[in-house]
Symmetry: C2
């Protein structure tokens, strides 16, 4: 231990020595993680960190999210590149259930990992790193010298009807989306990545999410959002590889080469006016969404997955699905499909309004936000009957580079020339 480092094997020994109930097995920190209650830790499985695409997009959606947006405090692109290198290394470790860095027992050095996930399963942790429009131009300056590589698709979102955006909770130079089936695993990942960024970037805002509000795999059931409605019935599923290619992944030759295999992330903090919603009738709730509340089926149908027939009429010749129903407006144009992957949130109590501050942290992934998310949301913002019950309170857009190759790092092709 003369160099202040301790091997993983030695840590295992030390941990095992204290270990009522420890189950030691094959190598890696994951091997000492048999202590937590099986019922409380949904899984010891992992999601691959390296590959063509980053995790946390098409991979099966987990139950918990911690999202952080950061602002750079450097104008040296080499430092940003080194940050992505360090994030990639730590992220690959944590996705395996290992600590962010090797431990040490120095009298003088802080631990390389903050420790709160030592006994927890990997819980399918995924980390999704993103790059905001502002790293290419901020206050009219291209301080990193990267403006020449900016994708057209990363143009800042235009103002959208009805937006009441809190700038302090919006945008950001970089982002990290951590998703896991254990919230402490997601928190731990963000905290250690933020720590690694010290001196290069600082947190601008962060958001905790629980209870996924979409499914990204046909193996998952449709969850309910905090309006009590099934959400994301017609979401693109990762098994739909044709749709993923058409609507989510940036193909080779579209935009700068560093984005091939990547995608774009839109985040919208949508506050629900829960107390208002809870006072309106079931009928009004169902009319607003265009689906039955309990079954999730389109109005007039019985099966959640029944096709939405926008032309169906009732016995009086009125449309079964109202002209301003969410499901009608959200489905008008088959060119605007997006992959949703949001979470419910509550940030306590809003003293100003005297109401719970809760809603949906909407996340979507798409090949081109300006051609998919923006026209879709403009139409919803103008006419959606649900608007009476929601407010978009924050917004952010990030380019999500392709997944790192083993031995490489996220964003490698962007920073290659530096």
């Amino acid at each position: 231990m003369g160099d202040g480092k301790i091997s993983r094997r030695e840590l295992l020994r030390l941990a095992g020595a204290g270990g009522a109930g420890l189950t030691l097995g094959a190598g890696g920190y994951a091997a000492i993680r048999g202590t937590a209650d099986a019922a409380a830790v949904p899984g010891s499985s992992t999601v691959p960190f390296f590959g063509r695409n980053q995790g946390g997009i098409a991979t099966t959606q987990q139950e918990h999210m911690h999202f952080a947006a950061l602002d750079l405090i450097t104008d040296d692109a080499a430092e940003v590149r080194d940050l992505f290198r360090a994030w990639t290394e730590a992220g690959a470790r944590m996705a395996q259930g290992d600590p962010a860095g090797d431990e040490n027992y120095s009298q003088f050095l802080p631990p390389e990992d903050t420790g709160e996930a030592f006994d927890l399963h990997p819980a399918n942790l995924t980390l999704t790193f993103g790059i905001g429009p502002s790293i290419f131009e901020k206050d009219g300056e291209d301080s990193l010298g990267l403006a020449g590589t900016k994708p057209e698709a990363l143009a800042p979102l235009p103002p959208l009807t009805g937006d009441v955006l809190d700038e302090a909770r919006s945008d950001g130079d970089l982002c990290v989306q951590a998703c896991a089936d254990d919230p402490q695993v997601a928190f731990h990942a963000v905290r250690n990545l933020v720590r690694i960024a010290r001196g290069i970037a600082v947190v601008r805002w962060s958001q905790l999410g629980f209870g996924r509000t979409a499914s990204t795999s046909k193996t998952q059931s449709t969850p309910r959002n905090l309006m009590g409605l099934k959400d994301g019935t017609n979401n693109i599923k990762s098994e739909d590889t044709d749709l993923m290619g058409r609507f989510v992944w940036v193909p080779d030759g579209e935009g700068p080469s560093w984005m091939a295999g990547g995608t774009y992330l839109v985040a919208r903090r949508i506050r629900m006016l829960i107390e208002v919603w809870d006072r309106v009738s079931l009928s009004e709730q169902e009319t607003s969404i265009g689906r039955h509340k309990y079954s999730g089926a389109p109005i007039g149908k019985e099966n959640e997955f029944a096709p939405v027939d926008l032309s169906a009429k009732d016995e009086n010749g009125e449309p079964l699905i109202a002209e301003d129903a969410h499901v009608r407006l959200a489905r008008q144009n088959e060119d605007e499909r997006i992959l949703r992957r949001g979470y419910s949130f509550t940030d306590g109590f809003d003293a100003e309004r005297g109401q719970l501050d809760a809603g949906l942290f909407f996340i979507s992934f798409q090949r081109d936000p300006l051609r998919q998310f923006v026209p879709l949301q403009q139409r919803l913002a103008a006419n959606d009957r649900l608007n009476e019950y929601i407010r978009h309170t924050a917004s952010a857009l990030f380019a999500i580079p392709p997944g790192p190759r083993e031995g490489g790092y996220v964003g490698e092709d962007l920073f290659r020339g530096i």
Copy 2:
């Protein structure tokens, strides 16, 4: 459906009709809850709602918490009594995995349940209802006419050294602690109870917690808090019925009769100065707590559960456990033991400090806060080496009445004379 009501059986039919993958079984809403992913929903088991003690105290600690404090907006004690009756009825239903009230399909009435937990397991939901000192006297007035029944043990906590309390996040006339192994189940319970309180009480503050920071059963392993430290190794466990009787439950004849079988809840929002903690050496971290970080064993020992020997010396004759170590100060007096049941929290990013707003939402249950929590915390507040890394930012105290009998309601003996 002429009266706008729908039977549970009918709801089952309606839900079943839309049900790809529904597994219908024996009666109750719980029967339609087979849709969520088994891996993501830790359990379909329930905790009894009725009995000598309320749940959420000695019952096995769950992984998630939503806590709300409310203030009364009535001075009619009968309305408060009726609220506890309604809360008891809804609470008993939700603890079984049922909605808060019977559903209806009226065109004009809102649903009796907000719906976001329809497809979820009961997830061991417990609800713990409490009564704050202020219902007996507020601004010098005894507006409810209950002052004669106030327990001496419910005296407001005295100012404690180092407190930096946010009044808006402290105290409250009433409280609800909802704990479950699914955060959406806990959120749903609080939201529906708050809704039922409309016109009688409004939320004063609320707090979301994840990752239990204590164990209340010998069947559970010791979790880690956000300092990365095992927390609550020497907590009282529910199996220690002698200790529970001595330190937690109010016995017959101690204070007013309505509290027999009850206890007192102290909540402290303890913010951790995470960025500071993360920069100090492992040695300083271990010295501060008086335990080894990885194993949780007392300094110089190898087993987490090894007795803490406060007199042990190192080779130089210095105490192995520092004079200001947390574990030394927290254990000096065996008359001050408490049952801990706290959670980790993060409330996003604190723009003022530029740091994560995260820490420990400490909850303890004890027979008499003034003889247990207060002297213990005074000693810690004055000398604990951990103080450099934490701030107590909110505080609350509630009397927790005994559990309701079947057919009765929480607080029945307090409100009997009204």
